[in-house]
Amino acid sequence: MVSEDRSSPVVCVNLWYDVGSRHEPAGQTGFAHLFEHLMFEGSVHVKKTEHMRLVQGNGGSLNATTNPDRTNYFETMPSEHLELALWLEADRMGGLVPALTQETLDNQREVVKNERRQRYENVPYGDAWLRLLELLYPPGHPYHHPTIGSMEDLNAAGLDTFKAFHQQYYVPNNCVLTVAGDASPAEVFALAEKYFGQLAPVAGIPAAPSAHLTGPATTPARETVSAAVPAPRIYLSHRTHPFGTAGYDAITVLATVLGNGRGSRLYQRLADGKRIAQPDYIGSYGVDLAHAPAPLIITATAKDGVDVAELEDGLSEVIAGLVTEPVTDEELSRAKALLTTAWWRSLSTVGGRADTLGRYATQFGDPATVAYRLPQWLAVTADDVTEAAAYALKPESRVTLTYLPEEKA
């Protein structure tokens, strides 16, 4: 796909591979993400460390991310280096395996273990997402385990598994290539043919385990963690609808009404209002997963001296109010205005635009569907929000994760 935009002399090359941690079998958690690291360590015509050197050494920014659904790779370059970026991506799509070494795997395994320490283990509340996933999705569900994986599985990762992983999933028919910015479609298509055209599709890409769920959970789940945290904090979460559905559009508007900004219900009622929650740490947001009902997460941190039970009651009351006190026109238009600005901001760089197009092509089979998202948010009614809340936010489907400061010895 090409989205031509000549406003800056830069171009983004973005690839979505339709493989994420949802594809990982038991015992191999964290492999999709560790593999993402290996993609920067050289391929048949690119020496170890050369990928980064060629992108940055030609003025570019680059990164990659892995989540439960997919893995994406992207670099934004001054546009005279478009061809270099495509060559680098083709080389690691078609020629990674011969360059993979045990030394590289061992090194990146240590880097990823340090990533796990830095992001999840060494920060207060850092493991909340890891705990929520286990509570939200049943064992065996592809979203049950976190993308970062377990230390145990990472330690057991063998080179052959990664070679097979590449051969199975890093194939042209499992990938969407998007270029946005200072380039013409004709130019990009010709270059894509030149560099990717000879890569053969591979049959029999293994599907992820079934992600089917019949609906929201029917029994509540609760976990209380005593840890080195500075204040009690609550995460309430529900499985809602998959990203990309009308139901999830209503959840997106609901999350904004409920917990985005100072005008949101949570802020107005619990940070201001009752003043039981810390104003900097209250909010709600959906996690945009597309292959199963996606989580809505609602969080608040107790102010000094506030009992955590009082905070939980306050949160429950505000959530229940989404059904009993219909959303007003003013609340709805506030939410839609914020979503409109956020939408255009997310598309204001060539990187953001390329990634969004890649998402819609990968997950919905048609990049043109991107044009419907904002209008669909804007079409959500107060009744839609009430209905979404009544369906997805029942107390009996709720996951409650509470952090309490551990007693000092």
């Binding site: 090194n107 030149k194 204040a231 005008g263 205005a337």
Partner: protein, 447 residues
């Protein structure tokens, strides 16, 4: 399967340009705007000469409390009405405080920018600042700082700053600490507002200027203001040290050690700005930097390590920052010192410098695509008195810097023998090894 073996060459580069800059003087202030034709969103920032440097001793954090109090209602509407009005435009205020300025940014769809700037000015110029609200915001800020300080990093940062800059405002954290914020009074906040936020300042705008009315934006931003800009103060005096100190900040049970290695350096106006920046890029800026290559890509000690200079109007500092696995704390420090030493003594190579040059130059395009980024770039011009053609000229300076110039800057502006090394980690596990390594005298931080 056939891959193309030959790396492609470079296509034809478009000439670098920074967006056209326009100026309008109106209502006692100046609007400086960059033209981004066709952008749906526009950004504006009111840049005020009211940085943290103006806070009183022992009341560090006053400006931050003021920033967070601005949305607690204005003379004409309460906080809930204000939030609904502003967020109803799809906008939010982003106030921030740094050493040199107090700034409030907004972004909105182009047709709504004027109404957004009017609301921003209402909060900045005529906030209600009810004493009970200010005290509550202050107490919330104390709690928020405690939350922040429970993470690895802030205590190490504060320790390094205190050691490098000593007593006085610059030796204290930018946003204060829980104790200094708790000491902030309503009068401190009112006085800071009175002395800093009623001067016109400068309004920066980036967006489609064919549609935006700069005079109207300026009138909205400068309405009711008085006074003129404060006279800037000169750089702080300093000399490099000749011995190292290791300061241990205890974080029992920590699975990583947070490293902050630093020393003072020249202020932003230094003629060495470009070669220093490039030297730091080779040492610890780019992904392929010496530090990240050795400590992450070869040794696997960290998820990432960076070295950089930060420079404000009155001072600068060099710093290396990383989180490393606890068990390899000392080897990671020893390797880091080795790379700083080597860079100071032997300079950089042409291969390394060519990456640094092109990266820094390219980033001037890659990182300046949005109205928000362009407004940030304009603020640098204003704060440091730089000309309108600064970015094109900076790009040329990056691309033309020689190995000799950059190596000379590394030799002059790196002081590995005078580093302060702050290590925040599990002291019971790492102390003995740190002492035995004889990196420098090991002392305990006062937290």
């Amino acid at each position: 399967m056939t891959l193309v073996a030959t790396r492609p060459g470079t296509g034809e580069a478009r000439p670098y340009t920074f967006p056209e800059i326009r100026r309008v003087t109106v209502g006692g202030g100046t609007v400086i705007a960059a033209h981004l034709p066709g952008q749906l969103l526009a950004s504006a920032m009111l840049l005020l000469d009211a940085g943290a440097a103006h806070e009183s001793d022992g009341r560090e954090g006053t400006a931050t409390v003021l920033a967070k109090s601005l949305e607690e209602g204005t003379r004409t509407r309460d906080s809930a009405a204000y939030a609904l009005a502003l967020e109803g435009l799809g906008a939010e205020l982003s106030p921030s405080v740094d050493w040199d300025s107090f700034r409030v940014g907004v972004s909105a769809p182009v047709p709504l920018l004027l109404a957004t700037v009017r609301l921003a000015a209402e909060a900045i110029r005529t906030p209600r600042l009810d004493p009970a609200d200010v005290l509550r915001v202050r107490d919330d800020e104390v709690t928020a700082l405690r939350m922040d300080w429970a993470q690895p990093g802030p205590r190490a940062d504060a320790t390094l700053r205190a050691d490098l800059f000593g007593t006085g405002r610059y030796g204290r954290p930018l946003h204060g600490d829980p104790t200094s914020v708790a000491a902030v009074t309503v009068d401190d906040v009112l006085a800071f507002h009175q002395s800093g936020l009623l001067r016109p300042g400068v309004l920066l705008v980036a967006g489609d200027l064919d549609t935006l009315d700069l005079a109207a934006l300026g009138e909205a931003a400068f309405a009711g203001t008085t006074g003129s800009a404060r006279a800037p103060e000169g750089p702080l005096a300093w000399t490099p040290r000749d011995q190292r100190t290791v300061i241990l900040v205890d974080r029992p049970g920590s699975v990583q050690s947070t490293l902050r290695l630093g020393h003072r350096s020249p202020e932003r106006a230094t003629p060495d700005y470009v070669p220093m920046t490039l030297a730091a890029t080779v040492l610890g800026g780019a992904f392929t930097s010496r530090l990240n290559h050795l400590i992450r890509e070869v040794k696997g000690y960290t998820y990432g390590i960076r070295g950089s200079y930060a420079m404000s109007r009155r001072f600068g500092r060099f710093e290396v920052a990383a989180g490393v696995q606890t068990a390899v704390t000392v080897p990671a420090i020893v390797d880091t010192l080795g790379e700083i030493d080597r860079t100071q003594l032997d300079g950089v190579t042409e291969d390394e410098l060519s990456v640094a040059r092109s990266w820094r130059a390219g980033q001037l395009s890659v990182e300046m695509q949005t109205p928000g980024a362009i407004v940030g770039a304009l603020s640098t011009l204003v704060l440091h008195g730089l000309p309108d053609d600064y970015y094109p000229s900076l790009r040329t300076q990056y691309l033309e810097a020689t190995v000799e110039q950059v190596s000379a800057a590394a030799a002059a502006q790196l002081h590995p023998k005078g580093l302060t090394l702050v290590v925040e980690g599990d002291a019971a596990v790492i102390r003995d090894e740190l002492v035995a390594a004889k990196i420098g005298d090991v002392v305990d931080a006062s937290f």
